[in-house]
Subunit: 376 residues, 2 copies
């Protein structure tokens, strides 16, 4: 069984694996309602919101579409695209309304002036990806929301790979709608997503949105602590346990741990002379949950990732779409810690060293970061 | 833990529970592709089709919408409604095209002449529910498809609670698109659905359907034995095991077992003087996977179902919508057998007898059916 160091699905804590090994319960029972209630309340904390959170049985993409489609009563929506998931927002939104697609080269930072111009020209909403998993960049959520507020635009944020692992303060930042996926920083298996929605978003409610993803149906049933359609019960058992683990660790500690792990990977890469893929500007930052590194000369994607998998049983991700073979990505999400990170870096070093791609080792550099007091 | 004798989610076989207790695997790996391939091939047998089957991470409702929306390039669709799930087809289809809703009183049989008239008047598609779980009636799939063929109309069938438990011969009957849910006769946990699609259906493909439910995206990825979005991996582990159990039992045996269980419930009810809810005509039949019985006088829904749950730890379903309190429903789906059926009937008898609703017992009648050689 491979150790998953990809940006989701993540390795499961054994408590979460065990939580799924349960007989089914009726989904219209108090037993299920209690699980739903706990999950909803804990997710609110992860989103940094006092507003509603709805859990959908479906992948993160289902959550992105539920958010965009349910609130698509807008003349035009600005979709910010500097990676695969930004591009996904464009493709989803195009099925519902007019889209102003602000495209930036994948891996580069977004230009806030372009966002402002698009809103000034009449977009009534903006959708963006907080943590762009495909490129390892953290987009400036707070700044985007601030500009949007000037134009009274609805703000939809894909927080699929940030919520639960990096700082997200939805209410404080002025985000109206945000999405998280179960199999990322929350540490649960894939198959669930959640959408956080404030009151203002309902002004943009479009009743012609897809039936299954119609957040109004979720809102109505939430009053009875139920879901509108049969929920994926085993995944709720798992999410419940995953959120208990987050509660026990403490959200602040968890975020600090994620930042430390990502920092260790970055410092290690730099010490070895590897190049981080993202090109930052003053507003953007490296992702704290996934690190994208340029594929070094002298080794192929198959040799690097294939070698790591074969010899160490560790899976890291390649590039997506046109970045295939050009970058590799190390996920440091969920409930993995020091030992998984250092093992991954050690394995990568070994494979690269044997191809004469690097010289020496930088495990000491990584350990210095990992061994700091902020990391367990 | 309650024994679930509701029409889904069903009680899980312990092998299926154990199958979920596994570490995650990468969803773009050969390991996952092998699971997807086996599930797809086995589901084709359950649907009775040689055409494509796509598995979606979502409930049965997601499958209904994927089917209707992906193939909604029609002037008008006829939706047959003689129960809650027929009504759901109407509500879903209304979001995509013009709908001719043929409404029949819930629990009554559909009128084939009305279907023919609607098609003659220009509907280009018809959607119907094979096994109407809300009322316990089996609608005439073959006859509906036959009429539709006369008018070259697309035929979409909700087989959510029939596929895997009752006879479905999609290709032979002339069904173009059909849907199944994981947590019904297949015996797996809830959270997955599958849509079977023949080649003809693609003539009606609508590229403006919801992104997450766009079957074209599933079709493209199926070539690489992958799903377009991150699949709910633990549920695939479970479905894989559930389908292995079906293969071991043999589909014919499984259908015979379902029919025997439902027949035992019906004969028992009649022997006690209870009234079955469905009103049949020459084309319809009682469901072979769920039995709806009128609530007898002298007992409330809470007393009957609440008493059964409290004293026997068995859950049966009540009526939905306006049938609440007027009927109760016993699911006999998936991997339950003689012992679960007879325990349920014994418990129900006890609760009713104590309220003087019935006299004597009809467990012998049920046992005569259950003990027949066709039932293990």
């Amino acid at each position: 069984m491979d150790l998953l160091m990809i940006p989701g699905p993540v390795q499961l804590h054994e408590r979460i694996i065990r939580a799924m090994a349960r007989q089914m319960i009726g989904h219209r029972t108090k037993d299920f309602s209690e699980i739903l209630e706990y999950c909803t309340e804990m997710l609110k904390k992860c989103f940094g919101t006092k507003h509603d959170v709805f859990i959908i049985s479906g992948s993160g993409t289902a959550g992105m579409e539920a958010a965009v489609a349910s609130f698509s009563k807008v003349r035009r929506i600005t979709c910010i695209d500097n990676g695969k998931f930004g591009d996904r927002f464009v493709r989803i939104a195009q099925r519902y309304t007019e889209v102003d697609a602000l495209r930036f080269e994948w891996g580069t930072s977004i230009d806030l002036d372009a966002v402002e111009m698009s809103l000034a020209e009449g977009s009534e909403a903006v959708a963006f990806v907080h943590n762009e998993t495909s490129t390892g960049i953290l987009n400036p959520a707070k700044e985007i929301a601030k500009i949007a507020k000037k134009y009274d635009a609805l703000v939809i944020m894909d927080g699929i790979t940030s919520v639960g692992g990096d700082e997200v303060k939805m209410d404080e930042w002025g985000i109206d709608v945000a999405i998280v996926g179960s199999q990322k920083c929350l540490g649960a298996p894939p198959g669930l997503c959640a959408v956080a929605v404030n009151e203002r978003a309902w002004e943009f409610y479009n009743e012609r949105c897809p039936f299954y993803l119609d957040l109004m149906a979720y809102r109505k049933k939430a009053k009875d602590l139920q879901t509108p359609y049969t929920p994926a019960i085993p995944l709720f058992f798992a999410l419940h346990e995953a959120l208990k683990i987050i509660e026990e660790e403490g959200l602040e500690n968890r975020i600090r741990r994620h930042r430390t792990m990502a920092k260790a990977v970055r410092e290690w890469a730099k010490a070895l002379g590897l190049e981080l893929f993202p090109k930052l500007n003053e507003y953007s930052a490296y992702s704290n949950t996934v690190t994208a590194i340029k594929m070094p000369n002298g080794i192929t994607d198959r040799e690097l990732r294939g070698g790591l998998r074969e010899e160490y049983g560790i899976l890291v991700s390649g590039g997506q779409e046109h970045l295939k073979g050009k970058i590799f990505r190390i996920g440091t999400m969920g409930n993995v810690g020091r030992r998984e990170v250092i093992a991954t870096l050690a394995g990568l070093e070994d494979v690269m060293r044997r191809k004469d791609v690097i010289e020496g080792s930088a495990l000491d550099v990584a350990m210095e970061v990992l061994a700091s007091k902020t990391q367990k």
